[in-house]
Amino acid sequence: MSSMTETTSAANDERSRKLTAGISEGQLLEVSMGPHHPSTHGVFRMDVVLDGERVVKLKPVVGYLHRNHEKIGENNSYLASMPYTDRLDYLCSLTNNWAYALAVETLAGIDVPERAQYLRVITAELTRLQNHSSVIGFLVQDMGASGTPLMYAFREREKILDLFESLTGSRMMCNYMRFGGCRIDLPAGWLDRAKKVVAGFPQFLDEYENLLGTNEILMARTQGIGALSRELAINAGVTGPLLRASGVNYDIRKVDKYGIYDRFDFKVPLGDNGDVYDRYMIRILEMRESIKILDQAMCDIPPGPIMDPKAKIRGFRPKAGEAYGRIEAPKGELGFYLISDGSGNPYRYRVRPPSFVNLTVLEDMCIGNYIADTIAILGSIDIVLGEVDR
């Protein structure tokens, strides 16, 4: 019960009141940052109240990209929702695919063959690499580095997207996984190319750390900014690198051991301060762990079928019931909750988007900081509006 007072959003109002005590209404500046703003990562809006440059109140406003994804899912067959999941978090379509496939497989009790599991791990970890690298690029870009870190990140990301293209036919909208396996097998020579890309990745990370790791300006801008306490992080349902930067050891790859993650030797980096710098560094360290997983997976991948022979592509109708399937997407816990009524379309198709839930604590982190910090904090949450607004 002790954590209750700290974690409620009433605490924010209290802090707001304290900060504005003795300041008349006319002295506060209300700024509507977004929906068209260079660093809101799409069409996101923050209604900010400023005292000078200090944020005293901040309300996130979302929904500009709302297309009622869940309703589309209810009106489409199970299979037809798969390409729509690509468009949720459009940077990581493969992990979205996996989460949805996992939920449907849980719902219908479908097994996934060994090779397909390995393919899923490889593609998901590659997705994590490319997502995290572009996130740290965007984060530093938001702090005013004129594109250089982002371009380095994109240079590496392109290599991974090329791999995705030659495997799935598309760079970003991969639409690769199916209920009970994956759509197509690896083309000839793909694994060797992937190994080369993965082998070159630590070099990029070293380069990146050289560029910014000890940069005094970056440290001054990020250390101690937007600290998120352990209790609040758990209570507010924050997941992913944000949660781990606050020192909570919770990685669904380790907790649920979905797929075949129990076979790989990797560690979960944890931060102690939960500030922007920790989130930035946790992502870099997570990439290094992902490289470890990739090395093992690409070494061990067995031959065999990639689809469960019992799985049906056409006319798929799971029995009535419900299932919640979740994975550790690069942004946090991505869950799909499906209710089947026995027909070809899900009765309820719910997405638990990590970046939407992570936005809950934006105000908590921003109040009392400068307006420039809100940008850095928002960048460190790593939101993708396709997923927030659905």
Binding site: G169, N210, L218, R314, G315
Partner: protein, 203 residues
């Protein structure tokens, strides 16, 4: 805080600045219209309808079963079944699409139609420079625009096409065996049934 980190960063950018003049690894830009990367075999853009032989109308594999129309996530396919039947590649009388329209402004290149098609009749093209100045007519492709030869399919997706050919050959052999058995059982031969996968899909 003495600026070591800044100096290291400056050294790193200098390295990249110079490296971009010598190393192709660093300067990864492909200058598009002049330079083109080879397209991946799995590349997919918009669907096309495969036809065998020379005449696109006679050789069209599509039998207007409308599975793709139903499964298409953004519902961009429209099919009108023919009233009459025409012989397909195996010589059996089949329906054919009297209309087959795809609205490529809506199509999201997801390849679901290809996967659900039991007749290997719809495949993904790799052409991507498709801009047109006619927003309405130019992006609504009819069956004539969609029809592309099997040779084209072989050219863009050789591995896939070889696999498809195997499947079709197996199908053909099965159908022939069935016809033979039917002939042996009783002449005159009954109307050949559509191949097995299609039957499996009837709700």
């Amino acid at each position: 805080m003495l600026g070591e980190g800044i100096v290291r960063g400056l050294a790193e950018t200098a390295r990249n600045f110079l490296g971009s003049f010598v190393s192709k690894e660093r300067l990864t830009t492909v200058q598009f219209p002049e330079e083109r990367l080879p397209q991946a075999e799995a590349a997919r853009d918009f669907p096309f309808l495969v036809y065998d032989g020379e005449d696109w109308q006679a050789g069209m594999r599509c039998v207007a079963c409308q599975i793709c129309e139903k499964e298409c996530p953004p519902k961009c396919i429209f099919i009108e079944k023919s009233k009459d039947k025409k012989p397909d590649a195996l010589g059996r009388a089949q329906f054919y699409p009297a209309r087959f329209d795809i609205d490529v402004s809506v199509c999201m290149s997801c390849q679901i139609c290809v996967e659900v098609c039991p007749f290997e009749a719809i495949k993904m093209d790799t052409a991507f420079e498709l801009s047109t100045d006619d927003r309405f007519g130019g992006l609504l492709w009819d069956r004539q625009k969609l029809a592309l030869s099997d040779a084209h399919y072989h050219a863009i997706h050789p591995t896939d096409a070889a696999h498809t050919d195997e499947l079709l050959a197996a199908e053909k052999a099965k159908a022939e065996a069935r016809t033979k058995a039917a002939v042996a059982k009783a002449s005159p031969a009954p109307m050949p049934q559509p191949p097995a996968p299609a039957a499996a899909n009837e709700p």
